[in-house]
């Protein structure tokens, strides 16, 4: 059964490592739903959060093949109840004198912030899990979304255990 799985990957922070990881996915026909990457507390190490669409055996292969890469230090699958996950979105939405307040109310309910404003549009910033982000987008859609940028999911396991 195909599902969405979250995989945390520690990699050596080296030139070309992102290409190596993404190249592995394309070469082996694995589906990436999202991939987010940034430095960790140790500047020589980066961490990727990869969301893959795969069935059980394919997910196993994804993990094993990632582990095979020399620059990959550790691979950990994160389960939905064992992790905290977030995504950041910025939405540029059209406004008019009539819709301004309503949009602000929606933003407030979602604990989203307006980070830019002019005569014609807001930029609204929100963080949350995927469901929340999708719900916000759907609520704003009728007002006219001009642009959307999303980071993709980042995730960390709950409790004291760490990936390293």
């Amino acid at each position: 059964m195909i599902g969405r799985h979250t995989v945390g990957v520690l990699v050596a922070n080296r030139f070309g490592v992102l290409a190596r990881v993404s190249g592995l996915f394309s070469a082996r026909g694995f589906n990436i739903a999202s991939l987010a990457v940034g430095e960790t507390e140790d500047p020589s190490v980066s961490r990727m959060t990869i969301v893959v669409e795969a069935d059980g055996p394919t997910l196993e292969q994804v993990k094993k093949q990632l582990n095979r890469l020399i620059d990959v230090i550790k691979v950990q699958e994160l389960t939905s109840d064992g992790m905290v996950d977030r995504e950041l979105i910025m939405i540029k939405v059209s406004i008019s004198p009539e819709t301004r307040t309503e949009i602000l109310q929606i933003a407030e309910i979602f604990r989203a912030k307006v980070v830019d404003i002019n005569q014609k549009s807001f930029i609204i910033e929100a963080t949350g899990d995927e469901n929340k982000i999708v719900a916000l987008v759907e609520l704003l859609r009728p007002f006219g979304i001009k642009e959307v940028v999303r980071t993709g999911r980042i995730a960390v396991s709950r409790g004291p255990k760490t990936i390293a």
Binding site: G16, P57, E60, I70, I73
Partner: protein
């Protein structure tokens, strides 16, 4: 004292035990060539970089050492791609050193620039671009370590020409420390115990052996296990030679062109022990139908090879040799007489043999004679096609590292340069290449390399005037519509050989075969090319129809004993 990057590189290669480098110079690696000149490194000028990569590969397959090849930037480096992919697919340790344009020109579409690290990423185990001369020594040490350890493979190091010229203090590299790379050598004791229990209880076990048994040096342990447990052994093409072909427990090759008895044994087994083999689709046929009743044990150094195509019951990740040593300590089982009798019956019912026809020179006969006359002791490189499968079927390999062929990538053009690479290793056994009229033309320019160095390579061309394997598939599966597989236009290979300064022979009749092989074997100081003009429409039998189970074979010869 400061040294240039090029001098440091050469020093590091020597420290890694590199005895010979195969390559071709160009603007972007001239500092390296100059440094090799000064250090007296043995370098073999190849006629095409693909040949160089295959030579390094053939040298590595025959010796077990790391092969080393070199190319200049851009087209030189891109010419290595097929050779690196070939080595990497078959887990052969090769390190390629390429020159790159000056570091400040990278990305500017400079003359002879190519994104070599990008291009070779999918065909190597790992690769590097060295941007700073201070990193060079450590990078080379890491590269050789990665190439030769774990599941071996190809590693490329790309060095811009300014880094080759830059000077720095040569600091002996640290021990290798790669946090993401720790191949597991020892198998899990619990898993090993489960496997041994399963083996001791099995009634119809079969050992299914691949190239990993050879690269880990596990052949003596394999022989011991088979004999102690009285377990029949079948090999993939990559595994041929891991177990003596003439042994009573040997079933020869399995899979698409394996023997009917090997395939029957696998399909009927209740325990299949895969030893350094990777369940390639040429072996398993339709994966769901592969050895359906068998509990499957898989011993492999590469965790990613396990359960990739066929689910395995007892996976053991570790060095094959290490694991077999433990098997041998605890194996305790009775002779499976009934099972061995059943296999003997299949062997007699469906022997591996060809139909001889009057007056026709058959390829199987030629290979059979090469096998007999070399007593199974030659180092045999083959190319890709029908002849390769006939070598697998009819050359009786006695020892490991004696069959050099492109099993994974299936690269035509591999055979001759691989044989040349092996010949440079200076091993006592004769080096033979068995090729096809199609394959040989994909690296024929290396005749010059062999002749210049007076290498006694014996090249036997099984000339059927076709891309034979393609023609066979067109005959069987495409209504005999022969499209683009007729090789009309071939040159007279014996005369081509002579033009290069080699010995050229032309054979059309069965009576002349032995004399030609004899002439080739007794020539000690030159390439001998024998062009065997064989029956053009001979097919490789038996054959598993693609997409079916492997005991469902076409073209089996049946004989009731």
């Amino acid at each position: 004292m400061k040294k240039t990057g090029a001098d440091i590189l050469v020093q590091c290669l020597l420290n890694e035990g590199v005895e010979i480098v195969f390559g071709c110079p160009g603007g972007a690696n001239l500092p390296i060539y100059d440094a090799m000149y000064r250090a007296g490194v043995r370098h073999i000028l190849v006629r095409h970089e693909q040949g160089g990569a295959h030579m390094a590969d053939g040298y590595a397959r025959a010796t077990g050492k790391v092969g080393c090849c070199m190319a200049t930037s851009g087209p030189g480096a891109t010419n290595l791609v097929t050779g690196l992919g070939t080595a990497n697919m078959d887990s052969v340790p090769v390190v390629a050193i390429t020159g790159q344009v000056k570091s400040w020109l990278i990305g500017n579409d400079a003359f002879q620039e190519a994104d070599v690290v990008g291009i070779t990423r999918p065909v190597t185990k790992h690769n590097y671009l060295v941007k700073n001369v201070d990193e060079l020594a450590q990078t080379i040490k890491d590269a050789f370590h990665i190439a030769r350890t774990g599941r071996p493979g190809a590693v490329l190091v790309d060095i811009p020409s300014d880094v080759q010229l830059a000077e720095t203090e040569f600091i002996q590299p640290r021990e290798v420390s790669l946090p993401g790379y720790k191949p597991r050598v020892e198998g899990h004791p619990g898993q090993i115990q489960r496997a041994i229990d399963a083996l001791n209880a099995a009634e119809r076990p079969v050992l299914y052996v691949g190239g990993g048994a050879i690269s880990s040096g596990a052949c003596p342990e394999l022989l011991e296990l088979a004999e102690k447990g009285r377990i029949p052994v079948t090999c993939t093409t990559m595994g041929l030679g891991a177990f003596p072909g003439g042994h009573e427990l040997s079933l020869g090759m399995l899979g698409m062109h394996g023997s009917q008895y090997a395939n029957n044994a696998v399909q009927d087994s209740d325990l299949l022990i895969a030893v350094g083999a990777r369940f390639d689709d040429r072996v398993t046929g339709q994966p769901e139908t592969f050895a359906p009743q068998a509990k499957k044990i898989h011993i492999d150094i590469d965790p990613a090879a396990i359960s990739k195509t066929v689910p395995v019951d007892i996976p053991i990740v570790g060095d094959v040799r290490d694991v077999l040593v433990q098997f041998n300590r605890q194996i305790n089982r009775e002779e499976p007489t009934e099972w061995l009798n059943q296999i003997e019956k299949w062997r007699r019912q469906h022997p591996l043999k060809w139909k001889s026809e009057d007056g026709k020179l058959l390829p199987q006969y030629v290979i059979h004679r090469i096998s007999e006359m070399t007593q199974g002791n030659a180092i045999v490189a083959s190319d890709v096609g029908q002849h390769q499968m006939w070598v697998g079927q009819y050359y009786r390999f006695n020892r490991p590292r004696h069959f050099l062929q492109s099993g994974g990538l299936g690269t035509m053009g591999f055979g001759l340069p691989a044989a040349i690479g092996a010949a440079f290793a200076g091993l006592p056994d004769p080096v033979v290449c068995i090729s096809g009229d199609g394959s040989i033309q994909m690296c024929i320019q290396e005749f010059a390399t062999a002749v210049y160095h007076r290498l006694p390579v014996k090249l036997f061309i099984i000339n059927n005037g076709h891309l034979g394997m393609v023609r066979q598939w067109q005959e069987l599966f495409y209504g005999n519509r022969i499209m683009a597989s007729d090789m009309t236009g071939n040159p007279d290979f014996a005369r081509v050989a002579e033009a290069y300064g080699a010995v050229g022979l032309h054979v059309e009749h069965a009576e002349e075969v032995d004399a030609a092989i004899d002439k080739a074997l007794s020539t000690k100081d030159n390439l001998v090319v024998v062009d065997f003009i064989v029956e053009p429409y001979e097919n490789v039998w038996p054959m598993v129809k693609p997409g079916t189970a492997i005991n469902d074979m076409m073209g089996t010869i049946s004989e009731m004993a």
